[in-house]
């Protein structure tokens, strides 16, 4: 058996786990590992500019490829800088392995230079973690880390290795280091009786909706879910992280649900008599008010992690297990059904909103983010493209106006909502899929959190296309201030550097776009260019993401798109309606909206639009209606 140093064992293990690229930043406590790296040229090391970037890159790599991403950092500050990226991966179930150096085992607990209790700090944000103090334990820790990271519900695992463990030698026994995890159960399966109950519920449902989450992408079951939905004619609503898991172009796909989902999708959920949740976890951003969530619906929850079941929403049947296995059991027993009445009702709820195409709206001289993203989609949809978004308004506009047809074509921080995620995650995604185009859609705020990673892109000579949606505001926070804090814009206006010159300073190409007509040429030019390009889209400053469910409000009580859409008619201040009823007012609202759109004169149509929606419901439940409307929110009419 070979005797190797602990540092060499680290790389031997990574090689055997099939790792070809790692993202990292050297430092004192991890130096032995970096020194040994020179003997392993098969593994490419990407030098990041901040350890947070390393974890996001590993995360982006993992999400784009389905493999485990690896990030490396030193002890103390190196490791604590990773925490944000680890928590991001944890919330979105992304398989990454982080390897950190630690001070010598004798120095642990002495507050030595760059010492931090990293396993303690990362304990609540990792799936599992290890502190390794002996070279002989490294192989087993790393093997188990990879196994835990990718099996069951994936997640981040951290391996903290002391400097002396890296320096000392031990016998390297790969076979003998096979995972021994008697308490780890990644492959649970539901009882047969549960499948029977689920099938019965599906076959007897009149108004079922499938809630499609990221689990579909992770388990690669797009085809099976579509088969189920097609056989039983069940409409599918998608979560933010589930986008791409179900092709946007599928007629079975209603669209995104939740806070910024389409109104008809949320209404379909609220009126459903059965929800079939596939690999999603009923996050508060998709349920709204839990007390009024899908009140008529029985719920089937297909989930690999038993601790997610009954956490937020009580379910009638829980099918624990891998989605592929569960669908395999359920599919043959589902009866075909056309559910024509339900589909007709959904079509009615969609009303005119579904056919409105923002592309056909006239150019009024303003540049709106929605247009930028929609144009970007039209120009890139025939290419193999991955879009990586940051967090905020642009993220929601991307979700609404970029129509993803492929799994793993959208990478975004959903659970933790980490600003600064996009650029590094995109670099990671590009390493996973060098043959694909990678676009970063990022706000001016989030971009400035991790923009030094442009230097990483430059040094690595890779091409990511950065579309900055620059509205000179922390836009989503500004939107909340507009809605719920009487437009007091505390700390949201943002002065940015000249992004074009900035790109040039990094040795990259920068382009500025200020008019709608310039979008297409800029995108085409970017696609032609060899290296990374930064496009600064200077968009309308106080634009708003519609529709919106205010936090904690009922899911179908949305702030709808303005009656006179800002994109339809310029020059007018935005007008929107705060929902005030607790009862579904789908039809009243749809009618009013249609009337408002049809009416040539905005004002009279607007007046009628507001009334019928509110009156009947006020009479029905006056005190609850008052409660549902956030106090500070007042429609701003000027």
């Amino acid at each position: 058996m070979k005797k190797l140093t602990g540092a060499e064992i680290i790389w031997e293990c990574l090689l055997r786990e099939g790792v070809d690229v790692v993202f990292g930043y050297p430092g004192g406590a991890i130096l032995p590992a970096y020194d040994a790296m020179t003997k392993y040229p098969q593994i490419h090391h990407v030098l990041v500019r901040h350890e947070q970037g390393a974890t996001h890159m590993a995360d982006g790599y993992a999400r784009a490829s389905g493999k485990v991403g690896v990030a490396i950092a030193t002890s103390g500050p190196g490791a604590t800088n990773m925490v944000t990226g680890i928590a991001t991966a944890m919330m979105d179930s992304s398989p990454i392995v982080c390897i950190t150096g630690q001070v010598g085992s004798k120095a642990i607990g002495t507050d030595a230079f760059q010492e931090t209790d990293v396993t303690g700090v990362t304990l609540p944000v990792t799936k599992h973690n290890y502190l390794v103090t002996r070279p002989g334990d490294i192989a087993r820790a790393i093997r188990e880390a990879f196994y835990i990271a990718k099996s069951g519900r994936p997640g981040p695992v951290l391996v903290d290795i002391t400097k002396d463990a890296q320096q000392l030698t031990a016998e390297f026994d790969w076979e003998g280091a096979a995972p021994k995890l008697p308490g780890y159960r990644p492959d649970l399966r539901a009882l047969p009786s549960e499948y029977e109950k689920a099938v019965e519920l599906i076959n007897s449902a009149q108004r079922p909706v499938i809630l499609a989450g990221q689990g579909i992408i992770k388990s690669g079951t797009t085809a099976q879910v579509l088969e189920l939905a097609d056989a039983a004619r069940i409409p599918i609503a998608v979560t933010l992280l589930g986008l791409g898991g179900i092709p946007a172009s599928s007629p079975l796909n209603l669209g995104m649900m939740g806070m910024h989902g389409e109104a008809w999708v949320n209404q379909a959920i609220q009126q459903a008599d059965l929800l079939i949740a596939l690999g999603m976890r009923f996050d508060d951003r998709v349920t709204g008010n839990l007390k009024t969530y899908a009140p008529h619906a029985k719920k089937i929850h297909v989930e690999i992690d038993p601790s997610e079941v009954n956490k937020n929403v009580h379910v009638d049947v829980a099918l624990i297990g891998d989605l592929r296995d569960v669908l395999g059991e359920v599919l043959p027993k589902v009866k075909t059904n056309d559910r024509a009445v339900w589909w007709a009702k959904i079509a009615e709820m969609k009303g005119d909103s579904a056919v409105r195409d923002i592309q056909s709206l006239p150019d009024n001289g303003h540049l709106y983010a929605a247009h930028v993203i929609n144009d970007l989609w039209r120009l890139t949809k025939d290419r193999d493209t991955i879009v990586v978004t940051d967090v905020g308004q642009h993220q929601m506009w991307e979700a609404q106006y970029y129509h993803h047809d492929q799994p793993r074509s959208l990478i975004t921080s959903g659970g933790l909502g980490t600003m600064g995620f996009a650029l590094p995650a995109a670099i990671g995604a590009k390493f996973a899929c060098p043959e694909k185009d990678v676009w970063v859609v990022v706000g001016d705020g989030g971009f400035q959190m991790t923009m030094p990673e442009l230097a990483t892109a430059k040094q690595e000579k890779i091409k990511v296309n950065v579309a900055i949606i620059n509205n000179q505001f922390l836009g989503m926070v500004r939107q909340w201030q507009e809605f719920f804090y009487d437009k007091r814009y505390a700390a949201t206006p943002l002065t940015s550097p000249d992004f074009v010159k900035l790109a040039e300073a990094f040795g990259l190409k920068g382009v500025r776009v200020e008019k709608r007509g310039e979008v297409a040429p800029a995108v085409k030019e970017t696609l032609k260019h060899d290296g990374t390009v930064v496009i600064d889209f200077t968009v309308e400053k106080e634009d708003t993401v519609f529709p919106m469910v205010p936090a904690g409000a009922d899911l179908d009580k949305m702030i709808r798109r303005p009656k006179r859409d800002v994109m339809l008619e310029a020059g007018d201040d935005k007008e929107w309606e705060m929902p005030s009823s607790t009862l579904p007012n789908v039809f009243a609202e749809a009618k009013a909206e249609a009337a408002a759109l049809a009416g040539a004169n905005g004002k009279s149509a607007r007046a009628t639009a507001a009334k019928p929606a509110k009156k009947p419901n006020r009479a029905a439940a006056p005190q609850r209606a008052a409660k549902a409307a956030p106090k500070r929110a007042k429609p701003s009419r000027r």
């Binding site: 799936k127 502190l131 079941v309 009580h314």
Partner: protein, 190 residues
């Protein structure tokens, strides 16, 4: 909300107690008591955790415990025939006048006097947490100087085979067994 007594078998590795404690804090579960000791197998520790939780909350606690990589098995003894015991040491002030009364009370509770000096007694009492609470109550008027309790340890009665699977994937426990408080334990003592 009710008290739930959970038993967890965990791998005896560094940091495992930290993981359990961190889980309870992070998920906002309220620990009433937690004890750890060796189990019958080498390398395995046995925890008894008493939590204040609804039935639904208890299932979540259980599922979350199973999610920890080092946790081998969890049993909820709340609805099973089980023995729950705790040990308490009570240091109580005595005077020549009250000494015999205190000794008498200790006798009633089947407690043992383990230390005597001119002004105080240390009494060791075992039983259910309720019994120890009651013992503390009756001694309070005499002046308690110090009290220490170990926290509850519990064990199922009989030899039922218990499931080693998390909730939702194990078969329901046969029929609906009555809530089985530790009645015989109480009868034996007070």
């Amino acid at each position: 909300m009710a008290k739930h007594t959970l038993i967890a078998y965990v791998e005896d590795v560094p940091g495992v107690l930290n993981r359990i404690a961190s889980l309870f804090r992070r998920r906002n579960f309220n620990i009433e008591s937690l004890t750890v000791g060796r189990a019958e197998q080498p390398g395995v520790s046995r925890l008894t955790v008493v939590v204040e939780a609804s039935e639904h909350g208890a299932r979540l606690v259980e599922a979350n415990l199973y999610k920890l990589v080092n946790v081998l098995r969890v049993d909820d003894l709340t609805h099973k025939a089980a023995l729950t015991r705790e040990l308490g040491l009570v240091k109580v002030t005595v005077t020549p006048q009250t000494r015999s009364q205190v000794l008498q009370l200790a006798d009633v509770f089947r407690a043992r006097v383990v230390d005597v000096d001119e002004e105080s007694l240390v009494i060791e009492v075992t039983g259910t947490p309720e019994k120890i609470g009651k013992f503390e109550m009756v001694l309070r008027p005499y002046g308690i100087l110090e009290i220490v309790r170990t926290g509850a340890v519990a064990m199922a009665r009989g030899h039922d085979k218990l499931s080693a699977n998390p909730p939702l994937v194990r078969a329901e426990v046969a029929a609906t067994r009555d809530h089985h408080p530790d009645a015989s334990g109480l009868a034996m003592s007070v």
